[in-house]
């Protein structure tokens, strides 16, 4: 039922023709081994987007940390396993912040 509601909602959003301010429910912050520079970070972002099914991702160069903004809720431990299993060498833990 939840899946149906989510799909329905996604389809509804897809029909909107006007610009909306994005709103995000969660932030996920993590570092990737060896990624300490913007250019190298950008080469990882498309893979992160694909694996997490998200769009808004940025790299904080001062802390060498990726920040993912999304309405999707992940369990940090499960997310860590998924990213690592797909070749993303997460360094340390994934920090989840509920923006709600």
């Amino acid at each position: 039922m939840l899946k149906i509601i989510l799909i329905n909602f996604a389809l509804f959003l897809g029909t909107l023709s006007y610009a909306q301010e994005p709103s995000f429910d969660f932030q996920y912050k993590f570092s990737i081994t060896g990624i300490t520079e913007n250019g190298a970070a950008k080469m990882q972002i498309d893979l992160i987007r694909k694996l997490m099914g998200v769009k808004a991702v940025k790299f904080d160069d001062s802390l060498d940390r990726f920040i993912v903004f999304t309405h999707l809720e992940f369990d940090p431990a499960e997310l860590l396993l998924k990213l690592v299993a797909n070749g993303v060498a997460i360094e340390g833990e994934i920090v989840k912040i509920d923006l709600g």
Partner: protein, 461 residues
């Protein structure tokens, strides 16, 4: 998999030609589960406003149709809702076709569904310039306990009779013409309704994330530079010089920056390069243009977080913009009754200095009342569609008058249309699928029953 895939290509002589792809999976539909069935499309290629997906047909045996939520996924992963919980306690979708040109919305149809219906979603959105070759998947979700069925067959029809949706400012075709050197603010909520970039033309970019498209034309020879001021990672590409705006742009961009640095980017004298990858410094060389040269710009928020930008021009060596654009060119202005409202639509193919539209209503075509102001596009040379819904329909005939006001206050009347609504009907009561009376705030499918005995079904989310 017990799916049996068959491929039929049909040629309809005299009308045009189409390609139909059919599969006969015979898959059981079980309560509280979702099944899927795929068709591999080959030999269709790019689908757009000229040739694309026209129709999706399904043949489903199922008792109590309103258990079903059926949607289609295209090769790019985008979803299109075909029907959601329609048909009440009736049975079957018996050779039911979903076509945006159909007359009856499936939401007000009755089971057994047979023939053509307008889907709950918009399948025209699939005709967005994507490559149709690949897997198309139909999902059938049975969202209630107690009734089962079978997905007997389904098909896709691609033809020249297909339509498409209007471009947005996040599409090349919906771009905004820049004709002053004043700083402007831009933003976008996505990558638009059309696929404008691919390996042949994206240059240093990596597709679109949250893009905005602009055009400019040089009035004089000179050097054209700009700075995109922002706090996040914006990229851009410029195509040209062109003799006319062509969308999507053809070939590699003239200038391109995919620099990963968060913050300002743009064209800057002394940058020393014409294109740069993620490791670039954010600036590439200015454009030296000749009078009348046209350029297309795509500005893309790679971070995709909704942060806006300000674009500031730096015109040197005699550079200036050509603003000799056409005035507002209105190609459509019509009004029609939709349910218990009137839908007023208009389209332009160009706008110059257009602040806003004003819509007025009248019951006699003589005495007019203000209805609404609708923001104009400012300056644009792309097709733009506008619509306004009048929910306060009370008269047999309602007249609508449209006018336009420039930024300098000059007002131009664009036209008048009318809608014949007949005698207004009143709602007797509203019921849900269980037959219980509900009010207009009820979420889900509800049936409106009117004084003249007619009914309509509405889904509220």
């Amino acid at each position: 998999m017990k799916q049996l895939l068959t491929l039929l290509i049909s040629f309809t002589i005299g009308i045009g030609w189409g390609q139909t792809f059919t599969t006969t999976p015979g898959t059981s539909i079980v309560s509280l589960a979702t099944i899927s069935s795929s068709i591999t499309v080959a030999g269709v290629g790019i689908i757009d406003c000229d040739y694309g997906l026209e129709e999706v047909c399904i043949d489903i045996d199922h008792t109590w149709d309103s258990d079903l939520f059926i949607y289609l996924e295209d090769p790019a992963g985008d979803l299109y809702l075909l029907t959601a919980y329609n048909g009440g306690g009736g049975d079957d979708y018996s050779v039911t076709c979903f076509n945006m040109a159909a007359v009856t919305p499936v939401s007000i149809g009755t089971a057994p569904f047979n023939g053509s219906y307008i889907p709950d979603g918009n399948i025209d959105m699939a005709n967005n310039g994507q490559d149709a070759d690949g897997a198309w998947t139909l999902y059938v979700a049975d969202d209630a306990f107690g009734d089962d069925g079978t997905l007997t067959s389904w098909s896709l029809l691609f033809s020249a009779d297909a339509n498409c949706v209007e471009p947005t400012t996040a599409d090349c075709d919906g771009g905004t013409t820049v004709c002053t050197d004043e700083t402007f603010t831009g933003n976008s909520d996505g990558d638009g309704n059309f696929v404008d970039l691919d390996a042949t033309n994206e240059g240093c970019l990596s597709g679109e994330n949250q893009s905005s498209w602009y055009y400019f034309q040089a009035a004089t020879d000179g050097d054209y530079a700009f700075t995109i001021e922002t706090a996040v990672d914006y990229d851009f590409a410029v195509w040209g010089p062109l003799a006319a705006i062509v969308c999507p742009p053809v070939g590699a961009p003239l200038r391109c920056s995919f620099a990963a640095v968060a913050g300002n980017t743009g064209l800057e004298a002394g940058a020393g390069d014409l294109s740069e990858d993620a490791f670039g410094d954010g600036v590439v060389d200015p454009i030296t243009a000749s009078a009348d040269d046209i350029f297309i710009i795509c500005i893309d928020n790679y971070t995709a977080d909704g942060t806006s930008f300000d674009l500031t021009w730096d015109l040197t060596a005699g550079a200036s913009f050509d603003c000799l654009l056409l005035p507002i060119d209105l190609i459509l202005f019509e009004a029609k009754q939709v349910g218990h409202s009137n839908l007023i639509e208009w389209r332009t193919v160009s706008e110059l200095n257009n602040s806003h539209y004003t819509l007025e209503t009248s019951i006699d075509g003589v005495n007019w009342e203000f209805e609404a102001d609708i923001a104009g596009a400012g300056n644009s040379t792309g097709k733009i569609g506008y619509e306004y819904t009048d929910y306060s329909v009370e008269n047999e005939i309602t007249y609508y008058r449209l006018s336009q006001t420039d930024f300098d206050g000059k007002k131009n009347r664009l036209g008048t249309v009318s809608v014949q609504n007949g005698a207004a009907k009143e709602i007797v009561k509203i019921i849900n699928l269980m037959g219980h009376e509900v009010d207009e705030t009820y979420k889900g499918l509800k049936v409106y029953i009117y004084t003249d005995g007619t009914m309509s079904k509405v889904i509220s989310q």
